[in-house]
Symmetry: C2
Subunit: 526 residues, 2 copies
Amino acid sequence: MITGKNYIGFTPSANGTKTYKTFNPQTNTENEDIFTVATSVEIDQAVALATEAFKRFSKISGKEKAEFLNTIADEILALDTLIETYCKESGLPEGRAMGERGRTVGQLRAFAKLVEDGSWVDATIDTAQPERSPMPKPDLRKMYIGLGPVVVFGASNFPLAYSTAGGDTAAAFAAGCPVIVKSHPMHAGTGELVATAVIKAAQKTNMPDGVFSNINSSGIDVGQQLVKHPGIKAVGFTGSIRGGRALYNLAAEREEPIPVFAEMGSINPVVILPKALSEQGQDWAKTYASSIMLGTGQFCTNPGLLLGIKGKDLDVFIDVLSHEIVKIEPSCMLHPNIKSAYSKNKLRALDQEGITISAEYKTDVKPNYAQQTVLTVNGKTFLENTTLHQEVFGPFSLVVQCESEEELETILYKLEGQLTGTLIAAEGEANAYSGIVSALQNRVGRIIFNGVPTGVEVCPSMVHGGPYPSSTDSRFTAVGTQSIKRWVRPFSFQDWPNYLLPIELQNANPLGILRLVNNKQTADAI
Amino acid sequence: MITGKNYIGFTPSANGTKTYKTFNPQTNTENEDIFTVATSVEIDQAVALATEAFKRFSKISGKEKAEFLNTIADEILALDTLIETYCKESGLPEGRAMGERGRTVGQLRAFAKLVEDGSWVDATIDTAQPERSPMPKPDLRKMYIGLGPVVVFGASNFPLAYSTAGGDTAAAFAAGCPVIVKSHPMHAGTGELVATAVIKAAQKTNMPDGVFSNINSSGIDVGQQLVKHPGIKAVGFTGSIRGGRALYNLAAEREEPIPVFAEMGSINPVVILPKALSEQGQDWAKTYASSIMLGTGQFCTNPGLLLGIKGKDLDVFIDVLSHEIVKIEPSCMLHPNIKSAYSKNKLRALDQEGITISAEYKTDVKPNYAQQTVLTVNGKTFLENTTLHQEVFGPFSLVVQCESEEELETILYKLEGQLTGTLIAAEGEANAYSGIVSALQNRVGRIIFNGVPTGVEVCPSMVHGGPYPSSTDSRFTAVGTQSIKRWVRPFSFQDWPNYLLPIELQNANPLGILRLVNNKQTADAI
């Protein structure tokens, strides 16, 4: 049941007076439930509980953490109004809701497996050499430990997989960090339902009160207070560059600066090499029409920038892409605010000099539905006008017709940091364009060959993150089990008695985890 | 030979008009060599060269990088006036100079071994599952790559091991990042000698011009320009909290924020439990008298804070410590500025209410020699007055007499972040103080049992870094091979053709490195 209350630890709480409702973009009406914005006192309470909970939660075994994570997954699957609530708060279809729930549950279980196995702590042991001269070598043993309470900002475009119990939260729990979720106002009901699942799981598996809180807010004050709070030790965010950068700045200005991992905007450049254009240009145009439209273009890996060398083959590609994309039925955006931002940003692009409209869905659409658009511009204009480098969140792409291979390479080097880059090449063609490949690699976190950037696999070799402004710290990924590294720090024990060491570092290696012992990987006891 | 010039890539350059000299604190006179501060144009040239060099240097093989690093070590050992220059620019004795040179060379060779072996890139491979439904699984392969040009600020207290070719530089080279060193003005001659060794090694091993530059400066402008330069992608710093925080702020305010790893101040709390005090208090007092005096107290791991529960045993400890420490001959500090900061910070501590002087070397000393001091204060006063938490860099320590175990725990939780924490306990005693151990662990990066914090082993399980303000990002270490992680980012290849992949990710695994393939550690080919 949706109560509209915050959860301060396990306790529902609604002491504030400011309220808000969510919105159904499909019916273009407000939903009924009323949510109460958290007060400053409630926020302090949540942080105090999390700080206290960290003392115990940071030390529980991997097995217990795994049980907690798996139980969250079970409880999410047991929520009977989740899919319905998700759909009416996002305008997304049921299939997508089910798929995203599957992804969310899969992520939780992947982290459960990771911590149950235990090797993720990167246990590293250098045993003592008391006889070494001139100085004896001490016994040193290192492993990852949690940073402390983490604040997670839910994403508008992934109400489940990157929100309340999404990737950031799952990774933080796995790391041993309590989580305070700043619920996304567009899907506060979905958020509350998932929050109740997390709390049920925490209680069932005997986790400390404060390991999780869910905080409602409709403006920016609540999030700011959370990020500035001295008890908070790290922040996870998925959203706009403006929002992410504002939080990053706040965190950097604290007396104790804390890490903010913000996954922000990206236009995901796609380079189509000449031979590929000539041999398979029409097929790629069809593929990209679909990729641009996927999820109403509301993916952070949406291909917003297509680059080729100008000529007849690129003209044909643009024609086919334009023809194909307007054949696809427009779909609903997440919220009227997202729709109006889409319209505004599209107009901003259209207003720039040298822009040609290649495709635009013209027929009238329902409110909050987005009309897909493809624009074209030449390389020189794109290079000189960075306004054209800005993301237009939605079913939109800009094709850049470059003068030459050199111009294309220059454009790539001048591009802002991106989550992904894609290379479309014919058999054997890529070898001849190593400069372009290097330039693309320099600007992105993941490079794709003959595919589309949409679709972000959850696995250990995924990197979702990249040079600024696609993320605030390219040294970490937001997707995949390695995202746990954002919330941990290495910790070293020197000459510590064996029985006082965490189990992962004890001589006997009772968990049988892989460890680096005196520079050798082994699961053996010492 | 010392020319006093900058090295912009391989080229000596001195186009500026501002000059400075180094100082011999033992003779209390200026040294003869004249150094020229780099101009704004020279800085731009160094960054441009580094940016260009990165294109090739980021892709050279581990074997070639290892050759470069080992040759730097050889060239440093071949410098015939290095030890003499080191001593006359630091006031440190020859034995220390030789030891630190050994450490520096050892670090370079350790990183050479790391990159020659190659497993450090954390190669992670998830092979494709084209038959998976509803969506085929792509082939994803991930490894670490270098961030780009790195600026390294030399440390005053380690003219070799944490300066020109010290740990930060060695780690950055190993990561594939060109390095621009902002030479420390107190030992600019030592810096130039080492710079010539690096350049010789780069030329001998065919590294690109720009892989290394050495920049002179006597003020803060040069460092600020470097950190603000858009071509710079990360910063390493060892020094004061004020200096490190200023650079961190500059980097966070950039249009593209960049990571700054600053290793800053620490007072390295040492907790002596009651039974240890009663049984071995006098021995520990003697040990700590030496540890506080080591290197004239100019180590970042100097034990500046000793905590015990008040009573007769602690009184005896303080008496013995005081008696022993004044028996040790005072020694020379690095520079008159360091000496005057020591005097000023000591006076600041002495000026606080509730402070007792337990020991102070009273006899007159030579200029720039430091008079060791031990102060005492009660727990309540220490808790309330954070001025007493500030580092006094030099042979100084403050003993806190706590009212109770609870007060000690509270003090630890309220302490600013520290590099190290030490627990002194009698046989079986630690078990009864788990609250204190947890509190200590919460505030530090490395915890030591029955030892001293001075002495930082270079090995994979070392953590030198900790919660702010001991460092700006507790998620990384500044010492040991794992410090390479500061300068790299994970990078993911999706469906990339095998022959175009970096050798570390190719099916055949020609380097035979350890890789995580479909969630299993193996050195096998695919």
